[in-house]
Symmetry: C2
Subunit: 187 residues, 2 copies
């Protein structure tokens, strides 16, 4: 899994690098670990942002933090910090011996020409071929740029309730949890 901070849109549509949020590290590491995700990549090219992540994780991985909550250190063992989306592809290819299939997520059906995939189809494919390397990508801020979405082999359908509510603003932490449960949860 990858949480991407670049290239994102801000609320005005400008292309930005978003800041890492403390609970994006914690909650998504815990969800990833719960659902058996091999690696959780925090992708941010800014050195000072990478330092923030290392400092937060370090607090929980050694000494008093680790003693207080060893489960958190366990979850953080699968977190990797990289600068660019391409780094996640390269790292997975290095470990798995083949390029991963890239599944991006989007809260909206934006842009034409993207290859959409339903959650049920993705779930079925994973269960039929669980050993195939896959990368599940999530954006931050006001969402990925078109260029980044086009890096995907498939884009998963927006997460929606069965009955429309007129509100489509889940936190990325919630979206990740729902996505992992839809793909890998007990049914």
């Amino acid at each position: 899994m990858a949480l991407l901070h670049h290239s994102m849109r801000d609320k005005n549509g400008a292309v930005v690098t978003t800041a890492v949020t403390n609970l994006d590290i914690h909650d998504i590491a815990r969800s990833s670990r719960t659902y058996g995700v091999k690696s959780y990549f925090l992708v941010n090219p800014l050195a000072e942002q990478q330092d923030v992540v290392k400092r937060i994780m370090g607090h929980w991985q050694v000494g008093g933090g680790r003693d207080y909550n060893p489960d958190r250190a366990d979850a953080f063992e699968r977190v990797k910090i990289v600068s660019w989306f391409q780094d996640t592809i390269n790292e997975i290819e290095r470990v798995e011996g083949q390029r991963p299939e890239v599944l991006m997520t989007s809260a909206q059906r934006a842009f034409t020409g993207l290859k959409w995939k339903s959650w049920q189809d993705a779930r079925r494919e994973i269960s039929l071929n669980p050993g195939k390397p896959r990368l599940l990508g999530f954006g931050t801020g006001w969402g990925m740029t078109e260029e980044l979405l086009r890096e995907a082999d498939f884009v998963l359908d927006p997460i929606l309730p069965a009955t429309p509510s007129g509100y489509n603003h889940l936190s990325v932490r919630s979206a990740v949890a729902i996505a992992l449960d839809r793909l890998l949860g007990e049914q």
Copy 2:
């Protein structure tokens, strides 16, 4: 929905009132609004904790906060602050004209004699009788006391992945998102 802060266990098993977390307000309000939950009750008997919640929500509900992110104010309109679990029952009964069915959640199959219910059964019952008032309760800290769990008509199965991972420590924000999607998500 209700997020309960009393009576919880801490990591040593002592009965405590837990503190409200900033993102428990934000993330769960957004998830609740997304899935059409009528009211999100923050349940905490401590006046200073209630003041924290009011201050955080006030920031987003008026002036600059509201202008910056009107969607957040929208989500917060359904948040209610009460002191005790019984207050949520009374409020729902006042609005709906009947006592709600109480569905509690638990990360573990603790305690004997609880009436467990599967997510599929709960989802089916909701879809067959969507007008029936229901209260979905979540604990914080290291989980609800036995006394509180016994207030439930049913306790929903622990949220688990299809393939056991040996890790069972979702954040409550993630658990709420998954629960709402299991009960009310598009399939």
